[in-house]
């Protein structure tokens, strides 16, 4: 008999603010412990929280990007529990009146194709500090740099039906959040964290089975692994006559196992109540509409536009729209006058090769457009342009600045200047080309004979030999014409 898996995900993302949720401390990652703290995020006596407007704006933007309804009034609540890295003994969160509810995102399920996964709610809250168990022998150290960092918690409906679908959801969610620039979604640095609820039931059953919560997964791949292990554990348990208990399971990436948390660690009554230090968060309808209008074009819409307006093939449009910085870069190259398909070919190959390694663009979009203009007007060949690009991108060994005459200042070398410096400007001069052509004809009597006997496709071979001899500098069109003429 088969089983249906039911999964819902709770995702916490750190919002990309300069300062914390309720104080002015920096949110920078990786500083020495307890250097980004103040009376508010240390929970000192008498300190009071003041909400960060930018965090609210980012959370609102995320909610709108996930098609949620953003409420004009939401309420901050205290979630009470004791933990050494929680300085106030409560976390400021939102409970029964969250910022936003009722959204959904489209995902591409590996099993079920394109479908919409519901978003139950999105609320804002503050992060806790960190307990460090490996700094002092036999002791736990507390770092409160993270205490008070703004978070959005995004809760999905139990709409996911497999671990792979859960992963597809996370990939899509991350894409959308990156697109609207609300979080850097970096799992290693903890700026995106996933807790999963999973249960099994018989197909056709409408009630949910008893769920377990799975925590401590540090990559999307591990979410899929952990959920697969937990699903299999539940099935084996139930098929063996057992019953699933509602517990929290911790995933161990090393062993690939899940083990239940001690029940003592999770028996919490959070005693939520509205935080009396913070008046209800009131947003005007107009402001929410403005945030909605200011949302960037989302990836699907952009892909469609790349196809319909720029005429790109579906594959190119998909690659170029997947990440916002790439899409923005590509569009900037096109905006400089480059033909869209040419720009697409270059961005998808030369540009992305470096970007995928470094996360940065090696050359500006203007510079690339200048280079492609030089290809178009015949100054450099497409082949030579790749060498010019590589040199500029730092993969060659060439200086990329020139001194501006008489000023003592340097400026970025232009694509044409660099091609000249590298000796890669295309040779179209018949006299120069004639020499190489003659040498190639003389050196390849067999091929010349076959060409003359009617094997015209050998023209390409001969053309290639000339290009080689010219070190890529010859204008291939002119070479072709010259060869044809001389072999007539």
């Amino acid at each position: 008999m088969s089983w249906e898996t039911v999964i819902g995900l709770e995702v916490h993302v750190q919002l990309l603010t300069q300062s914390k949720m309720f104080c002015g401390c920096s949110t920078r990652y990786g500083s020495p412990p307890n250097t980004q703290v103040c009376p508010v995020c240390l929970g000192l006596p008498g300190a009071l929280p003041v909400p960060n407007a930018h965090a609210i704006e980012l959370a609102t933007r995320a909610a709108l990007a996930l098609s949620c309804k953003v409420h004009e009034t939401s309420v901050f609540a205290r979630k009470n529990y004791f933990y050494p890295d929680l300085p106030k003994g409560y976390q400021i969160s939102q409970f029964d009146q969250p910022l936003a509810t009722g959204g959904g995102i489209e995902i591409e399920s590996p099993e079920r194709g394109r479908l919409t996964i519901g978003i139950t709610r999105l609320h804002v809250e503050e992060d806790a500090g960190k307990s460090l168990h490996d700094r002092l022998p036999g002791k736990t150290a507390i770092d409160l740099n993270r205490s008070g960092t703004p978070l959005a918690e995004i809760v999905s409906e139990p709409d996911l039906r497999s671990p792979a679908e859960a992963r597809a959801y996370l990939t899509r969610l991350k894409q959308l959040l990156l697109y609207c620039q609300v979080s850097d979604c970096n799992m290693e640095e903890g700026s995106l964290r996933v807790d999963a609820n999973i249960s099994i039931r018989r197909p056709g059953e409408t009630r949910l089975g008893t769920k377990t919560e799975v925590k401590n997964m540090n990559s999307f791949a591990n979410v899929e692994r952990a959920l697969t292990v937990e699903r299999d554990r539940q099935i084996k348990l139930v098929e063996g006559g057992g019953r699933v208990e509602q517990v929290t399971m911790l995933f161990n990436a090393g062993s690939g196992e899940v083990r239940p948390m001690r029940s003592k660690e999770e028996s919490h009554d959070y005693r939520y109540f509205p935080d009396p230090d913070l008046p209800p968060l009131v947003l005007t309808r107009l402001w929410i509409e403005q945030q909605h209008a200011a949302l960037p074009e989302m990836p699907d819409a952009r892909r469609d536009r790349f196809m319909t307006v720029l005429g790109l093939p579906a594959y190119d449009a998909g690659v170029l729209s997947a990440e916002r910085p790439i899409a923005d870069y590509y569009e900037a190259v096109v905006a400089e006058g480059t033909e869209p398909k040419t720009a697409a070919n270059w961005v998808m190959t030369e540009v992305l090769r470096g970007y995928n390694e470094t996360g940065q663009f090696a050359v500006s979009s203007e510079w690339l457009a200048g280079l492609l203009a030089a290809v178009k007007d015949g100054t450099v060949s497409n082949q030579a342009a790749k060498q010019v690009f590589a040199a500029r991108a730092g993969r060659g060994s060439l200086s990329v600045t020139v001194e501006m005459r008489g000023t003592g200042k340097t400026s970025e070398v232009s694509p044409r200047q660099l091609a000249e410096k590298l000796g890669l400007v295309q040779v179209g001069d018949v006299a120069a080309l004639g020499g190489w052509v003659d040498e190639v004809i003389a050196a390849n009597p067999k091929e010349v004979g076959r060409y003359k006997a009617g094997e015209t496709k050998l023209l390409g071979f001969l053309q290639g030999q000339v290009m080689k001899k010219s070190a890529g500098k010859a204008d291939p069109k002119k070479v072709g014409a010259l060869l044809a003429e001389k072999l007539r």
């Binding site: 929970g43 006596p45 409560y90």
Partner: protein, 479 residues
């Protein structure tokens, strides 16, 4: 001793320099040591702050409204110069790295912080008997309590040690001791004064409040500490309070007396004090009429749900992990640390309120207690709105059900102690400005009357109190 205005004038002109004020204040603090009203002070700090003021150019001194005025601070208002303990073992020796907004404003106005005063632990109590460092004595009768929780501040003002002091209110902790000690006690509208740096008890009720020897003393200090504070999200977007011109009479003003605040079994001395205030109002041309606040009887139960609920969360931070006293339990784990630190660090009344607060917020009880209390709170506030909308300018009530009681009289009966706030806590629930004004004595003990004003009508309330003060001899027996 002189009042706030006279001291500031003397220091500004140089006729009575701040150094002399500091010396005299120290002398009075030493003489008042038996009251056990102070937790921290030093002559050195007094002299240092005074010298700084005396060195200022006279023109600059003259611009400081409280220049050289010694002001005592309840020890739940954080200061960088002295410890802040909230009269609790759990904060023994704790020194704040920042000054409360009210402290910064007092300092900027030229005030000298005289001392930190004793209180009921974390401001929980009505007698200042629940202090880890012993009870405060009533200045007129050492066997009696000064009221609480701001009993130390009240006693020092009543004993003439300082002309004004800051306390804090959650349910009457300034008005009630003001009434017991025979001084002026003013709780401003909620949000009028910043809570940043006031150690939180019941955040939706807490408000820094002021004691004065006279209405003018209290009003001048309140004017300095009031006004919006960007560090407090509950601080009102109102300008600082400005003093109204002095009134000569109360013509055109209507005073309402809510029948619910004058029960048949009200202490006869307190009743006589109220009658004297009514007579004074009428003598000054004011109109007095009976009104009703029908939900009054729910105020105390409502208060004892809301305040402990908020307190339970507010006091969770005292866990021995980051600051304050830490006690390690026998098991050596973090739970044992919490148990030992909190179990031994907090006194019994604080523990009781944390338990009540935890209980009323617990899963399954929230609706029955906390949610219901919030609904009742809205009804209480509505009672006041309706009365003020019906043409009443101010309300007049007794401040307390009895004059100062004896030490130990109510310590074994928490509910009896809680009822000491029966006439005051409803104003904290309703967020309204209210004050206690001394009206006379009963059996040698001071009796106060309470004035209540509409939201942000603090200045009107004070100007009315000021003119009443001129006709009431607060040292005379009320009957």
């Amino acid at each position: 001793m002189s009042g706030v205005a006279a001291i500031a004038d003397g220091v500004a002109s140089g006729s009575a320099p701040a150094a002399a004020v500091a010396r005299d204040t120290g002398e009075r603090l030493r003489r008042a040591a038996d009251l056990n009203a102070t937790l921290h002070w030093s002559q050195e700090l007094l002299d240092r702050d005074a010298a700084r003021l005396d060195r200022l150019p006279p023109a600059e001194r003259a611009r400081l409204p409280l220049v050289g005025v010694p002001v005592a601070l309840k020890d739940n208002i954080v200061t960088t110069d002295q410890p802040t303990t909230c009269a609790s073992r759990i904060l023994e020796g704790y020194v704040s790295p920042y000054d409360a907004t009210v402290v910064a404003r007092l300092k900027a106005a030229g005030a000298i912080i005289a001392c930190k005063t004793n209180l009921d632990e974390f401001a929980m109590g009505s007698s200042t008997e629940h202090s880890a460092w012993g009870r405060v004595k009533h200045p007129l009768d050492p066997a009696r309590v000064p009221g609480g929780s701001s009993g130390g501040s009240a006693a020092l003002v009543a004993a003439g040690v300082v002309p004004a002091a800051l306390g804090s209110e959650t349910g009457g902790s300034v008005r009630q001791p003001a009434s017991f000690c025979g001084v002026v006690g003013v709780k401003p509208s909620y949000g009028r004064v910043s809570r940043f740096g006031l150690v939180a008890f019941g955040s939706s009720l807490d408000q820094v409040s002021v004691f004065g020897r006279s209405v003018d003393d209290a009003a001048r200090v309140l004017a300095v500490i009031s006004g919006n504070d960007p560090n407090d999200a509950t601080s009102a977007a109102e300008p600082p309070m400005t003093l109204e011109p002095a009134r000569r009479d109360l013509r055109g003003l209507t005073f309402g007396i809510p029948g619910e605040y004058v029960p048949a079994d009200l202490d006869p001395g307190v009743k006589a004090g109220l009658d004297r205030a009514v007579q004074a109002i009428q003598d000054l041309g004011g109109t007095v009429r009976q009104v009703s606040l029908p939900h009054t009887r729910f105020a105390v139960p409502c208060y004892y749900i809301v305040a402990p609920a908020e307190a339970a969360a507010n006091l969770a931070r005292y866990d021995g992990v980051r600051y304050g006293q830490r006690r390690v339990g026998p098991e050596g784990d973090v739970r044992a640390l919490y148990r030992a630190t909190r179990g031994q660090g907090f006194g019994p009344e604080v523990r009781r309120r944390i338990l009540i607060g935890t209980y009323v917020l617990s899963s399954g009880y929230y609706d029955a207690y906390y949610r219901k209390a919030q609904q009742v709170r809205a009804l209480l506030a509505d009672d006041f709105r309706k009365v003020f909308a019906a043409g009443v300018d101010l309300l007049l009530t007794p401040t307390t059900p009895t004059p100062a009681f004896k030490a130990g009289e109510k310590t074994e009966d928490p509910v009896a102690m809680y009822l000491a706030d029966i006439f005051t806590c409803s104003l904290n629930l309703a967020a309204l400005p209210a004050m206690s004004l001394p009206v006379g004595r009963s059996g040698g003990l001071p009796v106060g009357a309470q004035l209540v004003a509409p939201m942000f009508a603090d200045a009107r309330m004070l100007s009315v109190a000021a003119v009443l003060e001129t006709v009431l001899d607060a040292t005379r027996e009320v009957r």
